[in-house]
C-alpha cells in the first residue's frame, strides 16, 4: 500500500479562503491537547500566546519591529521564488548589507551629518544586491545550482562579519570585546512616531510590499516574472530573457535583504556584533511561503510569525513553559497551515497493491 497526492481538478474557492482559519483552529486544538498534557491551563497558555502581546501598545511596537526584517526579506524572496530562482542565502545578504551600511558610522565615525543615514541605506542595498549577484552570476553564466551557492555564501558572510567585528572594526574603547563602536545619532534609524519604538524598518517593509505587489499585479515585469517562473521556454518565446530575470530577482531580493540588515543594526541594535540576526533570512523563507508568495499576504504572515515569537516569550514568563514548547507550538502552526494548503490543492489517495497505471481511480 502507498499514499499518493493527486492534484484536484477544481480548487474550492471557499476552502482556499477558509484554509488559514481551519489551520488556526487545528493549531488551537492541538495546542489545548499539548498544554493539558503538560499540566498547564490551556486557556491561559493560548491567551498569552495569541492575545496578550496584542493588548498593550509597547508590545504592538515590538511586534512591528520583529516583523519588519521578516517582511522585507520575504517580499524580496517572493520575486525570486515566483521566477523560479531559489535564493536561500538571504541571511548572508542581510549580513553583508548591514556591514556595507555600517561603513560610515563605524569607519568614518568622525563624519556626522544628516547625509549619513541616506548614504547608509544606499550602501546597504548595494551591498546586499552585490552579494546576491554572486550566485546570480554563477547561475546565469555557469549554470550552477543557486540553492547551494547562495546557502554557502551565508556561512562566508557570517564568518566575515565575525572576523571584522573582532578585528579591524572592533571598538577601540570596548575592552577588547567583539563589537563595533555604537552608532552616532545621525546613523540611527528614526522612529516612525515619537511615542513608540517602531522604527522606519517597518515603514520600509510596508512600502516594499506595496511596491512589489503593484509590480507583480499590474506591470509587464510582473507578468514576466510569473511566466518565466512557470516555464522558461514559454517565456523565451514571449521574448523574455531568463538570464536577465535571474539577475533581476537576485538583485531585488538582495537589496531588500540588505535594507533589512541595515534597519536591524541601525534601528534596533545600534552597532555591529558578531551575530546580528537570529536567522531572519531563513525564517523569511517560511514567511514567504506562508504568505503564498503574495507581498500583501507576506505582510500578514510576517506579523503572525512575529506574534508567535512574542507570544512564546509571554507564555514562558506567565505560565512557565520552556522555550522548547514554544518552538514546538510554532512548528505546529506552520505544519497545519502548509498541510491545509496542500490538501486544498491535492487529495490523498491510498493505492493498494502494486501501482497499476490506467486503472480506474
Amino acid at each position: 500500500m502507498r499514499i499518493e497526492l493527486k492534484k484536484r481538478d477544481g480548487i474550492s474557492t471557499l476552502f482556499a479562503i477558509l484554509s488559514p482559519f481551519v489551520a488556526l483552529g487545528l493549531t488551537l486544538i492541538a495546542g489545548v491537547i499539548l498544554f493539558i498534557a503538560l499540566g498547564k491551563d490551556p486557556v491561559a497558555a493560548l491567551y498569552s500566546f495569541f492575545i496578550e502581546p496584542l493588548t498593550e501598545i509597547w508590545s504592538l511596537h515590538e511586534l512591528a519591529i520583529k516583523a519588519a526584517p521578516l517582511i522585507l526579506i520575504a517580499v524580496g524572496l517572493s520575486v525570486c521564488y515566483r521566477s523560479n530562482n531559489w535564493n536561500i542565502g538571504a541571511e548572508g545578504q542581510f549580513i553583508i548589507g548591514a556591514m556595507a551600511g555600517s561603513i560610515l558610522p563605524v569607519v568614518f565615525h568622525g563624519w556626522q551629518s544628516p547625509l549619513v543615514l541616506p548614504l547608509m541605506i544606499v550602501f546597504a542595498m548595494i551591498g546586499g544586491a552585490a552579494y546576491a549577484a554572486i550566485p546570480a552570476f554563477l547561475k546565469a553564466r555557469l549554470n550552477t545550482n543557486e540553492i547551494l551557492t547562495s546557502l554557502m555564501l551565508v556561512y562566508v558572510a557570517q564568518l566575515f562579519l565575525d572576523w571584522t567585528v573582532r578585528g579591524p572594526w572592533r571598538n577601540p574603547e570596548g575592552f577588547n570585546f567583539p563589537e563595533t563602536r555604537n552608532f552616532h545619532d545621525y546613523a540611527v534609524l528614526p522612529r516612525i512616531i515619537e511615542t513608540g519604538k517602531t522604527h522606519w524598518g517597518f515603514g520600509f517593509a510596508l512600502i516594499a510590499a506595496l511596491v512589489l505587489w503593484f509590480i507583480m499585479r499590474r506591470t509587464l515585469k510582473g507578468f514576466e516574472i510569473t511566466v518565466l517562473g512557470q516555464s522558461a521556454r514559454a517565456g523565451r518565446f514571449a521574448g523574455f530573457s531568463d538570464k536577465k530575470m535571474v539577475y533581476f530577482a537576485f538583485l531585488v531580493s538582495g537589496a531588500l535583504a540588505g535594507l533589512a540588515g541595515l534597519s536591524e543594526v541601525s534601528g534596533s541594535i545600534g552597532q555591529l556584533r558578531p551575530v546580528i540576526s537570529p536567522g531572519y533570512g531563513f525564517t523569511a523563507i517560511i514567511v514567504a511561503f506562508l504568505g503564498r508568495l503574495n507581498p500583501l499576504g507576506i505582510v500578514a504572515a510576517g506579523l503572525v510569525l512575529a506574534l508567535t515569537y512574542l507570544g512564546g516569550e509571554a507564555a514562558q514568563i506567565s505560565i512557565g513553559i520552556t522555550d522548547k514548547v514554544t518552538r514546538l507550538f510554532q512548528g505546529l502552526l506552520l505544519f497545519f497551515v502548509l498541510g491545509c494548503d496542500t490538501l486544498i490543492h491535492y487529495r490523498i489517495r491510498l493505492v493498494f497493491g502494486a501501482a497499476q497505471k490506467g486503472s480506474a481511480a
Binding site: E56, I57, W58, S59, E62, I65, K66, D162, R166, G167, F175, N176, F177, P178, N182, T195, G196, E264, S268, I269, G270, Q271, R273, P274, V275, I276, S277, P278, Y309, L310, E313, A314, Q316, I317, S318, G320, T322, D323, K324
Partner: protein, 359 residues
C-alpha cells in the same frame, strides 16, 4: 504607555509596602532571569538557573522568579527585558555579555527596577549593577594539576572567544602549569561558540591527536569531557560539576556558584539596601568553587587543595610577577600583582603558549 508604567509601578509598590515610612523595603520580590542558552546545557545557563533555584529555596514565599531561556543577544533580548520590566519584576539578572547594551537601554526607561548584568562593564544608570567571577583563580589550580598529571607534558585548551575573561583563563592555566613544569606545552583551539557540542568534540579530538593528554575547556557543553573519556585522557569540567559525564576522566571542575550572589542581591532589594556596584568575586566569596578532586594521587590532590586555600585566603594571586609576555618582554616584575583593571582588558598571552591570540 507612561501611564501603564506608572500604574504597574504603583501596583507593585502597593503590594509590597507595609509601612509607608520605610518606602524602600518590601516583603515580596519578583526576580527575573534571562539566559543565553537552554537551562539544560549543564554549563553556563544551567548554573545561573541553579543560582535562581537556590535563592528561591532560601527566600521561600518572599521570592517569586521567572526566566527566559535561549534568548538571542541583540534586539530580541531588549524586547525580552522590556517584557520582564513590564510584568512586575523588581530585579532582573541578564546573564550574558551580549545583553550589555540592551540592559542599559531598558534600565533607562525603568528607573525603579534593578538590573544586574553579568560579565559586562557598562553601568550607565544608577539602577544597573554588574557582576562577574574570577574564574581564572580556578584555572591556576587546574593548570598545576595538569602539569602533574600529564605524561606528554602538554594540554589542550578549547576556547570560545578571545575576550579578556577567556584570555585570563588561558594565561592563568599556563602560569599554574609552568609553576610545576617550566617546559609545559599548551595548545589552544578557538571554536568561536559558547555552546556547540559538535564543534567542541571536534576540537577535543584534534587536540588529543596533537599530543595533548589532558583537556580543559572554556565552552559550555559536556562534549569534550565525553571525548576525553572515550580516549582515556583526563579533562576538567567547566561551569558545573561534570563528573557524571566522565567518572574516570574528570580531575576537577571549576564551578560557577551564583547562588550566594543572587541571594545577597535579591535580599538587598527586599531590605531596600540595593545599590549599584561592580562585583568581581572569586573563591573567597564562594563564587568560584572547585569540584571534588578525583582520579588523581593523594599528593597531587594535596597540592591542589593547598593552592586553592592560598588563593581563597588571599595569600596568593595567580597573576604575581615575574611574568613575561609571549614575545619575551616583561609584563610584571618580581612580586608585582596584576591589577584588576589590566586583567579586565587582558589581550595578550604569557610566555610559552603555543598559539597566536586572534586579534
Amino acid at each position: 504607555m507612561k501611564k501603564t508604567l506608572l500604574l504597574l509601578a504603583a501596583a507593585t509598590a502597593l503590594a509590597g509596602i507595609a509601612a509607608p515610612a520605610n518606602a524602600e523595603a518590601m516583603d515580596k520580590v519578583k526576580a527575573c532571569f534571562i539566559y543565553v542558552g537552554p537551562v539544560g546545557d549543564f554549563g553556563w545557563s544551567y548554573q545561573h538557573d541553579q543560582g535562581r533555584l537556590y535563592a528561591e529555596e532560601k527566600l521561600g514565599d518572599k521570592l517569586e522568579t521567572a526566566y527566559l531561556e535561549s534568548v538571542p543577544e541583540g534586539a530580541d533580548s531588549e524586547r525580552a527585558l522590556e517584557r520582564f520590566a513590564r510584568s512586575g519584576c523588581n530585579i532582573i539578572f541578564t546573564t550574558s555579555f551580549g545583553y550589555m547594551d540592551p540592559t542599559n537601554k531598558v534600565a533607562k526607561d525603568f528607573p525603579d527596577i534593578k538590573f544586574e548584568h553579568a560579565t559586562g562593564y557598562k553601568r550607565e544608570h544608577p539602577n544597573v549593577a554588574t557582576y562577574d567571577s574570577k574564574f581564572f583563580q580556578g584555572r591556576y589550580v587546574i593548570g598545576q594539576i595538569a602539569a602533574k598529571m600529564s605524561k606528554t607534558g602538554s594540554a589542550g585548551y578549547i576556547a570560545s572567544f578571545p575576550i579578556p575573561e577567556v584570555v585570563q583563563g588561558i594565561n592563568s592555566f599556563m602560569l599554574g602549569a609552568q609553576s610545576i613544569n617550566p617546559d609545559f606545552k599548551l595548545k589552544v583551539v578557538w571554536v568561536n561558540t559558547w555552546f556547540d557540542p559538535g564543534k567542541e568534540a571536534d576540537a577535543a579530538k584534534v587536540l588529543l591527536d596533537g599530543g595533548a593528554d589532558i583537556l580543559t575547556q572554556h565552552t559550555d557543553s559536556t562534549a569534550p569531557m565525553q571525548v576525553a573519556a572515550e580516549r582515556g585522557a583526563f579533562a576538567f569540567g567547566q561551569a558545573s560539576d561534570m563528573i557524571a559525564f566522565g567518572p574516570n576522566t574528570q580531575l576537577t571542575s571549576i564551578i560557577d556558584d551564583w547562588g550566594p550572589y543572587y541571594l545577597e542581591r535579591i535580599s538587598a532589594v527586599l531590605e531596600g539596601t540595593w545599590e549599584q556596584q561592580a562585583t568581581w568575586a572569586g573563591m573567597a566569596e564562594g563564587h568560584v568553587v572547585m569540584a571534588p578532586y578525583t582520579n588523581m594521587p593523594d599528593d597531587v590532590k594535596a597540592m591542589a587543595e593547598e593552592t586553592e586555600a592560598k588563593i581563597t585566603s588571599g595569600e596568593f594571586h595567580p597573576f604575581t610577577g615575574p611574568i613575561m609576555k609571549q614575545d619575551g618582554s616583561e609584563w610584571l616584575a618580581d612580586g608585582v600583582v596584576a591589577d584588576d583593571g589590566v586583567l579586565a582588558g587582558l589581550n595578550f598571552y604569557v610566555k610559552g603558549i603555543d598559539d597566536q591570540l586572534p586579534q
